[in-house]
Symmetry: D2
Subunit: 308 residues, 4 copies
């Protein structure tokens, strides 16, 4: 079948390749002429036979909303738009309604797998109507990993469910990465462990904690032993924040995911933590720091009777 | 080669099978005559040609320490004992010294993989001298998964390092399981998600969060949809506690692992949480709970001006 | 001066008393005729000389928004409305604009102190223009505790700042209460401590942790030793949720406040924690639970080699 | 009565003053001749009439244990030693036994109040026998704040209970300080709040969160607005660590106290957080960072479809 694909960044370009390799025809549009198949979004639409399926793979928020608005003008009743980006799930219903008013279908589809999806296939989480999902199934089958369809693809629910599932996926990912991070840090801190990288590598097979993320961690350590080139400054994509907000909305205790999120916040405090400055200031207020013990030697704060 | 194996519980029996299938001869001892190959520990020792290798696979703490003491009496200089149980790493040096005084070698070896290790092989983390590890290597090779040795086996450092690595492994495992648990709970709480099990299953392939634990979670949900048969009462093996204690000793922030540990503690509070009773009592002290709004309807605590 | 007061629940009635005792005239309205000074909101407005000051003390959300809408119709240019309830700060600007369009001023004023405020005075946090705050100052002075004005009253910023400050106050309160709760629980758990209530009472004077909340905790324990009558089921007013949401919006690590919030969520899970059910189910999947040690006694899960 | 006082650091010197002001005679010993009343510990003992009471106020650990050992040699049956330092409670029983073998009594007494105790009195938590506590009561009464004895003093239980209570006190203190710290940080982050110091000061009276620590926080902010002179590097006295370790031992969920402790650990990671470096490295492994949106502008990682 044919697929219109908007956004040929790293993810979009890889997905185009994978869909083409499955035997489908892709008309890709990107504002950068050097990577685009057509000069304009309108040309992309004109290059597809109705009923069309158009996959939007652009940044979430305004770019995606803007693209959907343009498509609502350009497409025809019976066409179908799939938002494969990391949109917040609350964007999906408005987008679906905007398109639905023109008779155009909408699917939100969370996509996981990163740059590895080109070769391994992408994990897909779709939200939308049964009919729309059935129409897009050949594309989903091209993108998802080979093997059983239910491993790597889910029709998670109505419009919004796909991005919701992807959001939770990313929240879980925060927790998993930080759990490995804490384990890595503890192994590094313990002198008994003379081979940290080897220990993590051993964990990749046979153990209970084996996972793809762990394999990537070993790969990263092999490329840069001790992470000497890596900053601990960590950004966040927004999905971890949304996950904790949803946990709050649903009264779900999310101690692990929020701890992972807050650790990222802390990593960005270039001027130090105001909270800890307050703690330091408090200790200065009530503490008496210099004491001398009975042997006459000067004594640090540990064991200082005055430090509460 | 020959292996003496003390402890033929679920793990020990499976390991015996796997070692035998690799072509080695196992003499197994267990206090339960119906499963033991020999009537006594002394008979096990007599049944092995020197220099002997004896694998101890009994519960940690007193049972393991007791077995090591018995072996120190029964074995000869040049023999080797491997503790494959979940001993605390601080037990290893005393055990090694007790045996070393008799000229007997010692390796601590963390074993991961659970009941699945029989078929998949076990992830192994060994601590000890190079010579001792080299001698035991044929047994490690029999137990670990097929493929590259470094995937599934590590000589992590001197005596103690194997159990230390296993302890951290289990701490990480706490974090991973709880991250999935929080994601599962949030998916269950959101009405948009009409196929929770399918969503988790889709995550098992292609996605960033794919792992063996996730596959087990899907398997468990398929066996018992909604976990209707499962209590949230969760015990702990002690290794999570040790991991957090070690994090404290090494000044490693372990927010994720400790959150997972504390959640297990909370699940066991049959009489309710004393901390939350104190919070409730405090709110009663300063709160004025019943207020009426301007429409005359009775008002719950949300929005009560008096409830700080 | 005169004050119109809408809402004569527990808080509103106490505040009326306190304002009257300071020599002001209060016209109170409540939909319950038995406690109301006037039969209707319109009568309350008619009973006040312009320019009027009306304090709204009703539940947050729709009740407050509805009351503000009614007052926008009934009041005149130059009048002033103060929202003293626990409104979310994001409600304040719309309310201020609705009133401002009619020439009516608006102040949001967070009020803390609970039922004790009648005697002790209330801690007040106001948001609004300098002029509006100056006009209402006699009322604020009547409500706040005696002594220095800056202890117990702040003009925290423009419209919204008062409720924002109150929201953060309540978030901090969550953290404080839970810190005491954890300390209380640990004292109860330790057999060495034979006088838990006495220990907490001793802390109320001289120590670093002394506070009003601690005094209330001792009072509560004296009324109900062991909290035998108290459930650990703990609701939340919404302000803790908002605080954590704001922390997320501002990238502020809020580990302590969120931990206190999540503990309340957990206390309400009557069917058990789905996350912990998932953890239990996972452990069943990979664990081999029954093992026997070398002494033949049956062994629980602690120390079970098979339990990762 | 007479009191021997070992250790005339900031705390000890203040306590000498307070005990003297209550009419007692103090013979103080300190290894620094310029502050000591007597040239040696033996001279201090000789300067007291039997039965003696000796208060030890030196750093915990070896200095305290060493002082107790010396006193065991110098004192006589019927004398009494009080350890007022921040010893770990597990040191108390060995110290008590060492002294008890010579017929000398022992009390462990947690002392809180910092440098303010000189004027306000100290909060005291004592562990020991009824007889020993009764003998030392005049000294406790001199040190504790005026007013009701039960406010500021508790006989918490047998030997060990005093330091245990003090340890929990300090753990609670960690949680309280960090709760205020988080609130302070959030107030600073929100542009609506134009008077952070004023807001905190307003909280000191009338509100639910009022406390002595809050008063100190306001004082600190007034001395150093914005904490411009304060580092967020925060040490810890060891008591927070012990509290969390005890929580683990007693299966008490201590999410709040441990979060406060771990935040201090994080503040000391001069080379950055290894855990977050691992997280960063992982994101590099699977992420595709540079994408372009349909408007041609370059896009950061937020909203990048490729960033899981």
């Amino acid at each position: 079948m044919q697929l219109g694909l908007v956004g040929l960044g790293k993810m979009g370009a890889n997905m185009r390749t994978r869909v083409q390799e499955a035997g489908h025809q892709v008309v890709g549009y990107d504002p950068r002429p050097e990577v685009s198949d057509v000069p304009s979004l309108a040309d992309m639409v004109r290059g597809l036979e109705a009923p069309r399926v158009v996959w939007v793979m652009v940044p979430s928020g305004d770019p995606t909303r803007g693209t959907v608005k343009q498509l609502a003008e350009l497409l025809e009743p019976g066409d179908l738009v799939i938002d494969g980006g990391n949109s917040k799930y609350t964007d999906d219903l408005p987008n679906a309604q905007l398109l639905g008013d023109k008779g155009i279908g909408f699917i939100d589809c969370g996509v996981s797998g990163g740059v590895w999806g080109l070769r391994n296939g992408y994990g897909l989480m779709a939200g939308g109507s049964d009919d729309d999902v059935a129409r897009a199934m050949p594309i989903f089958d091209a993108l998802r990993p080979p093997g059983e369809r239910a491993d790597g693809f889910v029709h998670a629910g109505p419009v919004g469910a796909g991005h919701y599932a992807k959001m939770v996926h990313n929240g879980v990912e925060y927790g998993l990465m930080h759990a490995y991070g804490e384990g890595y840090e503890l192994l590094c801190a313990e002198p008994l462990i003379t081979d940290v990288e080897g220990t993590l590598r051993a964990w990749t097979t046979g153990t209970v904690v084996r996972s793809w993320l762990l394999e990537l961690l070993v790969r990263a350590l092999q490329e840069d032993p001790g992470f000497s080139e890596i900053s601990d400054y960590t950004t966040d994509s927004g999905e971890g924040r949304w996950t904790v907000e949803e946990a709050i909305r649903h009264s779900v205790p999310a101690n692990v995911i929020s701890a992972a999120l807050f650790a990222r916040f802390a990593s960005r405090q270039d001027q130090g933590s105001p909270a800890l400055k307050a703690v330091s200031a408090l200790r200065n207020q009530f503490g008496g720091h210099a004491v001398t013990d009975t042997t006459g030697r000067s004594v640090g704060e540990t064991g200082t009777p005055a430090a509460d």
